[in-house]
Every structure is written in C-alpha cells, then in structure tokens.
Symmetry: C2
Subunit: 262 residues, 2 copies
DNA sequence: GAGTGGTCTAGACCACTGT
DNA sequence: CAGTGGTCTAGACCACTCC
C-alpha cells in the first residue's frame, strides 16, 4: 500500500479479524506503535482513527486503545403493534402491567426508567405533509426516553407527533403527567375513538449528530438507525408520526412478514 | 468551547443547518479557514473531519470541500415478499418481465444490470445455526449485485445461503448461468416444492468495512444498513438466509404491518 | 501552473486515569 | 506520579483537478 497509515491500519485490522487481538484486548500505546512501525505518532493516530471509524477499536483517554466488544442487542419487533392493539381494549389494570418496551426486551417495569415531555407546536416541514394537515396546524409533540435502571443512556430518542384537534376530546391526552399511559399510544387513540388499520415504518441509517451521540452515549465510529413510524387509522387518516433514533450497534429491528397460504 | 477545532466545526455546522451554507456550496480552502480562525491547517482539518464524520460535508481531492447533498433514496418494501409469492405460481413468461428490485424501485429490467455468482461451501458459524444444519453441511452461497445501468455502484451487496440437499432435485438451481431466475428465490424454491410461510428481517446499522465502502462507493462519513432475511417454509424449516448490506444514506427500508380489524 | 486536499514529520503541552 | 490519549503548531512534500 502506498500510504503508510493504511499499512498500519491494515496490519492491525488483520490481527483483529484473525483473532490475534481479541475483543477487550489493549493495543500497544501510540508511541510504541510509532516506534515499531518506524512512523511518527500522528501517523499512527491516523491509522487508529481509521479503525475507530470502522467500529473495530475504542479509545479511552488516559487508559489506552482497545478492541471493541460486541454490544448486547436490544430488540424491537413489529409484532408489538398487533400486541398493543389487542391490549388497548383490555382493562386498565391489565394494561398497566407492561408496555411495548417490556414486550420487546423481556424486562419488567421495575427495570426501566421512563420519562416524557409534551409540547404544543405548530406543524412545519415534512411533518405537516405526512400528517396531512396545513402548515401551522396545532400539533402535540411528545418526547420519550426509556432507559434501563442500571444504565445512563436511553434505548432510543423517541418523538411523536399527534394532531391536537384529533385528540383534544380527551384532555388527559394533552397532559404529560398522565404518562406513562397504560397500553401506549394505541390505547390513547382508542380513548378518542380511533382504531388503527396499519403501521408503516421507514428505516434508514446515518452517522449520529453530536447531540444524539451525547444523549445516547455513542462512541465515535458508530451509526444510528433512524425509524419513522406512521400510523394509519381505519378511515385512512394518518393519526400519528413517530421519529425514533436508535443506536445502530446495540439495536436490532425485527420485522416479520406473514405470507398467505396456498 | 474549550477545544478550538470544535469551535470551528460548530460555526460551520451552524452555518450549514441555518442554510447560510447550502447543499453543494464549496467551503473556503483549508488554508483560508486556518487564517480566518487564527489556527493551523491541521486544526482546521480536524474540524472538517468531524463534519465529514457527521455526513455534513464531502471533500474532493484537488477541488475543495462541499456541503453534502441529499441522496436519492432507493426503497425496499416488505410488500415485495407477498408479491413474489403470488408471482411464483404464475407462468414463466409473466414472471420474466420484472423482479422484486423493479417492483421496489419502479425501474424496468432495461435500466438494471444484474450479476450473480454461485459457490458451494460448507456451513459454518452462525449460518449453520440459523439454517438448522450441522457444521460443514453443503450449502449453496449465491452472491448478487444489481445496479442501475447508468451508475457504477450496486444498490446493495446480497449473499444468500441455501441448503444444497433441499434444492438439488432441480439441478438448474445450482447453475449460476440460469440467473436471473424468473420470479426470484421464491420461484426457485417453488420448483422443488417449497412454499414459504413467513419472512423475518433483522436490521442493524454500523459503519462500513473498507471492502464494503469500496464496492458501494461510500464516501467516508456514511453508514450501512445490515439486513438479514430469514425465510421459513410452511413446515417450519428455515430454507433461506440472505444477508444484505445497503448504503444507509441512499436506502430506505419500508415495512408495513397490517393490523386486525375489530 | 495554480490551487486544492492528502500525507507526514518532530516535536510541544494538556487532560485524563490509575497507583 | 507515570503513562495514556487529546490537542496543536509550523512547516514539508505529494497527488489530484482544472485551466
């Protein structure tokens, strides 16, 4: 290879893939690598940065550079939607026991810390187009965070948009102190007579924005999954748009598509 | 901010988000930015690297640094699976007209260039576990690339694994020169009497490996979507595992979940 | 040829961590 | 305290692109 930082990165990459360097292992210090490869420290740092950008290593200031471990996956399945719909007609006491996050993760409510914030905002940009309302229409913006009780980073950054006029019949739906609502958004919509017909989820991936990296505690060299969930009522209206940002290295989205039998 | 490259990155980021720098605009040269901010060129380069890692800018050697434009999205929907199943019993002539990629993208077969390579390999690692066969069992590994006729990068990197013993009844299925098979994998399985019951798709995101970045022509500062598709036959067996690597910045996965009516 | 970003040197000093 | 990575300087020369 013409470029010497690529040669250094290549040798280390090969060692990691071959298992000569195992997850959790510490790499030699930058000064030592520089000496060993006969290059300057900045050149070695360039090589390490390339490996970090591939998600292979992780640097810890003042400690060293380590081969990255696989993260435990949090799973989110689309079966949750039917499950939530079924629950939304059940008694409150039964709904209160567990929510969709518990359904997906297998955890109980005691393991989880929940947080919600409501704001009323005018519809703008693509949200108004998706919801089919005019620009400036009154929306309810709901931000959610759920995290494991023993960790500081949430599972994801969730923002949901509802049309205020559709739900104002039930004032409790405008009150964030009523969260967590037993049974989730489908139960809330049910309380104002809205039944869902289907849910669309659009998924893309990109590097995190700095604010997202901070809140999700993402190390450099990771990606986020960006999911937009669109809920359609039985009358065809879009009744909810939810944007979710999830850490790509510790989230697995599972979609099951049943097929009609012959 | 304590760190001056962060201050430089912050000012440029704000300018981009506010629209003072628009997609496609060229940023000042590194030497000019260095002078303007009163820092050295390497410090400016550090700031630009941070913005590139966020996907905000794109550097072109010998030309300059530009605000990145949004990419045109290629969409892939899970409705394709039922569509493919319906087609797999239709006459060959009808199946030959369009495939799933055409279904998703709205393009015609003339717009697309298709490529396939078959290999027989022993089952290893997680693939044998998912397919439910012993390690070392004979598998057919099929690699696919589809690209737009006017572009050089494929839509994605597709590798499918079939159990050789399940499909050997039809020797055509072992022959890569028979590709593209009219109607796709479900038609191939149908030719040996296999009907699918459901499809599971698992989605995660991560930075690309160097080989993936090269083949998909991904600039630094992008992510890939990693999709594993698992096909279940009506008898409960896993009959196909397909791994797909897609460019995160120009792919949208669309999943529709229908809900039972009350 | 002029201008751009890419690679590299050989240091300096700072900030963080564990002992 | 010693050792680590983080930031920064002030250059040098190379590779690429456009004119």
């Amino acid at each position: 290879m013409a470029v010497s930082y690529e040669r250094i990165a290549g040798e280390l990459r090969t060692a990691i893939r071959a298992g000569r360097l195992r997850p959790g292992d510490r790499l030699p210090a930058e000064t030592e690598l520089a000496e060993r490869f006969g290059r300057s420290v900045p050149t070695v740092r360039e090589a390490l940065r390339a490996l970090r950008d591939e998600g292979l290593i992780e640097k810890r200031h003042g400690i060293g550079t380590f081969v990255r471990r696989e993260r435990a996956l949090a799973r989110r399945t689309n079966l949750r939607h039917q499950w939530e719909k079924d629950r939304s007609r059940r008694p409150v006491a039964q709904r209160a026991m567990t929510g969709a996050t518990e359904h997906d993760t297998g955890l109980t409510a005691n393991d989880l810390v929940f947080w919600a914030r409501y704001r009323e905002i005018p519809a703008g940009g693509d949200i108004s187009a998706v919801l089919g309302v005019r620009e400036g229409a009154a929306l309810l913006e709901r931000s959610y965070r759920t995290r494991h009780a023993t960790e500081s980073a949430p599972f994801g950054l969730v923002t949901s948009y509802l049309v205020r006029g559709m739900i104002a019949r039930n004032p409790d739906l405008l009150d964030e102190t009523k969260e967590p609502w037993p049974g989730g958004t489908q139960s809330q919509l049910h309380s104002v007579g809205i039944e869902l017909d289907r849910i669309e989820e659009r998924v893309t991936a990109r590097p995190p924005m700095p604010e997202e990296a901070e809140e999700l505690e993402l190390p450099p060299g990771t990606s986020v999954l960006v999911l937009r969930k669109i809920s359609y009522a039985t009358d065809g209206r879009v009744v909810d748009v939810t944007d979710v940002v999830l850490p790509g290295d510790r989230t697995e989205l599972l979609f099951t598509t049943p097929l009609e039998r012959w």
